[in-house]
Symmetry: C2
Subunit: 243 residues, 2 copies
C-alpha cells in the first residue's frame, strides 16, 4: 500500500529530469521567461527543490547546453576531413535551430563542461585525422570560432528579436517611409539588404537565406584552411614574414 501511494505520487526529481524540463520549457517559452521559479512550477515543485539537483542557475544553463551537445551527430566516417567537419558543423547547426534560445545561452557560457570539452576534443580530432598540423589546427579552431557550434555572431540579427517577427505585419506606408529614410541615410546598407530579397518582395525583413550565408562563410574558411594545409602552413614562419 505504501508502494501504491508511492506509485501514484509524482516521481522524484533528478538532474536529468530537471535539465530536460528546462530545455523543453525554453523551447516553448524562450529563454527570457525561463526562471528557476517558472521551471519549478512546471515540475510542480517548490523553487528551492531545484537546488538539490543543480547548484545554481548558471549550472542549470550549462546542463541545458550539455543536453544539446548530446543531440549533435558524431562525425561521419569515410569522408575527407573537410567534409567531415562540414557535416558535423551543419548537424550542430540543425540542433541550434531546433532550440532557438541556445545561441544566446551558448554566448554566455564561460567555463566548458566536460561534455563541451568532449565535443571540442572530437572536433579537433577531425582535423588531426585529416593530417593538419597541431599548429594549424590551433589557429583554425580560433578562426572557426562559434561556427563550430553551428552559429555565427551576427549583430542586430532581426530574427533574434521579438519585434522582428512583428515587423512583417507593418503597414505599407510605414515601410515606404522607412525605405525613404534608409535610402537617404544608409544607402549602402539598403542596397546590401535588398540584394538578397529578390525572391520574396519584402524590403525590410531579411529576405536572405540564412543557411546559404552560413555555408558561404563556412566554406570560405574551410577552403582557405585547405589551401594553408596544402602549403604546409606554419605560423611562426608566417609571423616572421609579416614581421
Amino acid at each position: 500500500m505504501t508502494q501504491q501511494i508511492a506509485a501514484e505520487r509524482r516521481e522524484r526529481l533528478n538532474r536529468k529530469r530537471v535539465l530536460h524540463a528546462a530545455v523543453a520549457l525554453a523551447d516553448e517559452v524562450g529563454i527570457g521567461p525561463l526562471s528557476m521559479r517558472r521551471l519549478a512550477q512546471e515540475l510542480a515543485v517548490v523553487p528551492m527543490a531545484l537546488y538539490k539537483h543543480v547548484a545554481n542557475k548558471e549550472e542549470l544553463l550549462d546542463g541545458m547546453v550539455d543536453v544539446l551537445i548530446g543531440e549533435i551527430a558524431p562525425p561521419v566516417a569515410g569522408a575527407d576531413w573537410k567534409n567531415t567537419v562540414r557535416l558535423r558543423v551543419l548537424s550542430a547547426r540543425r540542433v541550434l535551430q531546433r532550440h532557438r534560445w541556445a545561441r544566446r545561452v551558448l554566448e554566455t557560457r564561460t567555463n566548458p563542461t566536460p561534455a563541451a570539452l568532449g565535443y571540442m576534443d572530437s572536433f579537433i580530432g577531425m582535423f588531426f585525422a585529416g593530417g593538419l598540423s597541431v599548429d594549424l589546427t590551433h589557429h583554425v579552431m580560433h578562426a572557426i570560432g562559434s561556427r563550430m557550434w553551428g552559429f555565427t555572431q551576427e549583430l542586430f540579427d532581426s530574427t533574434a528579436t521579438a519585434e522582428g517577427e512583428a515587423l512583417a505585419a507593418v503597414e505599407p506606408e510605414v515601410q515606404a517611409a522607412t525605405y525613404q529614410e534608409m535610402s537617404a541615410n544608409y544607402p549602402n546598407v539598403l542596397q546590401v539588404a535588398t540584394a538578397a530579397s529578390h525572391d520574396d518582395g519584402s524590403v525590410v525583413g531579411n529576405g536572405c537565406d540564412d543557411q546559404f550565408e552560413f555555408e558561404f562563410a563556412l566554406d570560405l574558411l574551410l577552403d582557405g584552411i585547405e589551401q594553408l594545409h596544402l602549403r604546409d602552413y606554419n605560423s611562426t614562419a608566417a609571423r616572421l614574414e609579416r614581421g
Copy 2:
C-alpha cells in the same frame, strides 16, 4: 546669489553625461555591477532621474555602444579596399579592448541604433569602393560577422571569465593533476592548447596571442573574399553549381 547657488549646484544631467558616466563606470567595475541604481549613485542622483534621459536600461546600453562607435577611426584614404577594411577592423578591435565589457553588451543588442547603422553603412561602403558587387558584399558582411566590430565569438574564452585571472595563481600540483586529467580525457584539446604556449610556460592559461589569432582569421576571410572578387563571384551561379 541664486546664480551662485546654481553655480555651486551639481550641473544638470543630460543624455550625454549619463552615457559617458555609464561607460566610465563599466570600464571601472565591469558590466555586471552596472545597474541603474549604481549609475545613479555615481551621478549623485536618485535612480529614477536617469529615466528622464534614457527610456530604460536597454536604451542605456544602446547608448553606451554608440559612444564606443564614436571612438572607431574613420576609414583611411588611399589604400586598397582590403587594407582599408583591415585597418578599420583593427581600429574597432582596439576600442573593444579599451572597454572590455563591450563585447558582452554588443552581443546582446537586438536593434541597431542610427549610429550602428551609420557604421555598417560606412563599412559596406569600403567594399563598394573596392569594386565588389552588391551581391558579393552582402555575403561578405555575413561572413565577416562580428569581426566587423572587432571581436570574434569564442566560446569559453578564459579571458572573459573572472576565474580565468585567478587561474594563473593555482598551485603546481593542481596544474599537474589538471594536465593528467586533460591528457586522459581530452588529448586533442590539450595538444592544441599547449601548441601555442611555447613562449610562456603555462599549461592551462591561454598562452596564445589573441591579436595574432584575430588577424589570422580576418586575413583568411579577406584573402578568400579577394579571390572570389577576382573571379567575379556570383551567388546565384554558386547556388546552381551546388545544386
